[in-house]
């Protein structure tokens, strides 16, 4: 590694070592990839089973929901690959190992974000991308400049929204410690909500997942834009163009919570 200099060099070195470590045991790595792919398949099967019983849900057909699912899966899985391991924070907090990170001269969040990168999550990203492509084909979406613009706005914003959700959840862990499942409701619940037609959400869920944790912007709203469909009350189709605003809001909320959390942290004593 000739270019192992510059401010990002430590992160690059760490990430390269993580990649080497995971691909060292090939059989284990292959089963990991397959297992993770199956998670996506089962999630899609859950939606498909519902559509096996009814032709449309929340005014969307199965091909339309496939697009919602694909976009949510692609963006969530990418976020999960990048920062999903922030979920380990409660373990560090409980065991007192977080203090070790504080000793190093790099920002805590940057260290934690590069502390692990689970390559098995690549399968989910590919599965999500495959679902998007399949949905674009079966829905007969014409890939004109507008459609490409929708995707270029939606996918990065979606990834930003979900990564911010993980950061927010991490920040909240400093206060909750033993209640990781409270934040899981919003990260993984958000992921579950993200692949549904938002028009079926009950009123309060529409507020929570439409605006507070804006996962409606990751799959449902971009899909409406691409398919030219009307949205329900509170979620008009044009709102899909505001996905970057939603992502910005989520990041402000997340970084605020993270700062408060780190400041609240007292260390493990000793």
């Amino acid at each position: 590694m000739a270019e192992a200099r510059g401010p990002l060099a430590p992160y690059r070195a760490v990430l390269a070592s993580r990649v080497r470590a995971q691909t060292a045991y090939r059989v284990s790595f292959a089963t990991d990839l397959a297992g993770t792919g199956l998670v996506s398949l089962v999630e899609l099967a859950e939606i498909w089973v519902l559509f096996h019983n009814v032709p449309a849900l929340g005014r969307l057909t199965f091909p339309a929901v496939l697009l919602v699912f694909g976009l949510a899966e692609l963006t969530f899985a990418t976020a999960d690959l990048l920062v999903g391991h922030l979920d380990n924070l409660p373990t560090y907090l409980r065991e007192g190992t977080l203090d070790v990170f504080h000793l190093r001269p790099q920002p805590l969040l940057a260290q934690l974000a590069t502390s692990d990168i689970a390559l098995r999550r690549l399968t989910r990203i590919l599965f999500g991308a495959g679902a998007v492509v399949a949905a674009l084909v079966v829905n007969d979406v014409e890939l004109d400049a507008r459609a490409v613009a929708v995707l270029l706005v939606a996918v990065p914003s979606g990834i930003a929204i979900y990564t911010a959700m993980f950061v927010w959840a991490g920040g909240a862990q400093f206060f909750l410690v033993h209640a990781a499942e409270t934040t899981n409701a919003f990260t993984y619940g958000g992921r579950y909500a993200g692949s549904q037609p938002a028009s079926v959400w009950p009123g309060p869920a529409r507020v929570v997942f439409g605006f507070l944790f804006p996962v409606a912007f990751t799959g449902y709203l971009p899909a409406l834009l691409l398919l030219g469909l009307p949205g329900p009350d509170w979620l008009p189709t044009w709102l899909g163009w505001c996905a970057p605003v939603a992502a910005l809001w989520m990041w402000m909320f997340a970084l605020g919570t993270w700062r408060l959390g780190v400041r609240h942290y007292q260390g493990a004593g000793g």
Binding site: T36, V49, L50, N53, P55, G58, L176, A179, Y192
Partner: protein
């Protein structure tokens, strides 16, 4: 037997020490519950008031009973046994004059039965208060349902134990645990009732132990299955449980003889 009763109580007490965590789980539960109620309710309405034999009231009962009982069963497969095998800590467990599998089962039941207080009952209360959910008024479904619940809990433990004990051979079982989690959630009826599956997929589900973990209890407590049908489902649970426990005993013995612990 006294020892197992003590382990059960200790497990129960251990969980009761973390009330904050229990509240967190309830919040997570309710959030998922409302999302599930939204999409499954919409499915019932879209199907014209009834789907797969569920009307709206029964579907809401499915959602909130499922959410309430979710904490009692292990559908994630994240037991710590595999880690103890990998690190060698399991040698300490073997040194105790207790059966590894049964003592872990007792602790599991204790820990998870506790979840019914902060999580189970409130989830059901939320469903009754805020959705058109109904529950039977007779005692029978609840009594048999309690039996089915404990059997389902023990079965979920016994199958997770099988996954974890394979660590004697595979060292790393995370891939298997993820597989278990995917199949268990889907086939146990965590998200969609097994009754809504297409026929062939219901056949596949019936050939696995997963519906016996959660779906059976929900069907009995909600009063959708009664009388000999309910007893038949419980008999199926007993068969799966006996098989899974026996397989676990065999694998534990085989694995123990393979175990090599490093260090002094």
């Amino acid at each position: 037997m006294r020892v197992f009763a003590r382990l059960l109580t200790a497990g129960f007490r251990q969980r009761s020490a973390y009330l904050g965590a229990a509240w967190g789980r309830l919040a997570a539960n309710a959030t998922f519950g409302f999302l599930k109620a939204g999409i499954l309710g919409a499915t019932v309405v879209a199907a014209g008031g009834s789907v797969g034999g569920y009307d709206l009231a029964q579907m809401m009962a499915f959602v909130w009973l499922g959410q309430g009982l979710l904490g009692a069963v292990d559908l994630n497969g994240t037991d710590t046994l595999a880690r103890r095998i990998r690190t060698g800590d399991v040698a300490v467990d073997f040194a105790r004059p207790l059966d590894l599998q049964l003592s872990r089962l007792a602790s599991f039941l204790g820990e998870r039965l506790f979840s019914l207080i902060p999580r189970g009952l409130p989830s059901i209360a939320i469903g009754l208060a805020l959705t058109p959910m109904t529950l039977p008024l007779a005692a029978g479904p609840y009594l048999l349902g309690a039996v089915a619940l404990v059997l389902g809990m023990a079965l979920s433990f016994a199958v997770v134990y099988l996954v974890q004990v394979l660590a004697f051979w595979l060292v790393e079982v995370r891939g298997l645990q993820v597989l278990y989690m995917s199949f268990a959630g889907f086939f146990s009826g965590l998200f969609v009732p097994v009754g809504l599956f297409p026929g062939w997929l219901q056949g596949v589900a019936a050939a696995t132990p997963f519906p016996s973990m959660l779906m059976t209890t929900i069907e009995i407590v909600s009063g959708r299955v009664t009388g000999s049908g309910a007893l038949g489902l419980v008999a199926v649970q007993v068969c799966w449980l006996a098989g899974a426990l026996a397989a676990g005993q065999v694998l534990t013995r085989q694995g123990r003889s393979r175990l090599e612990i490093q260090g002094g």
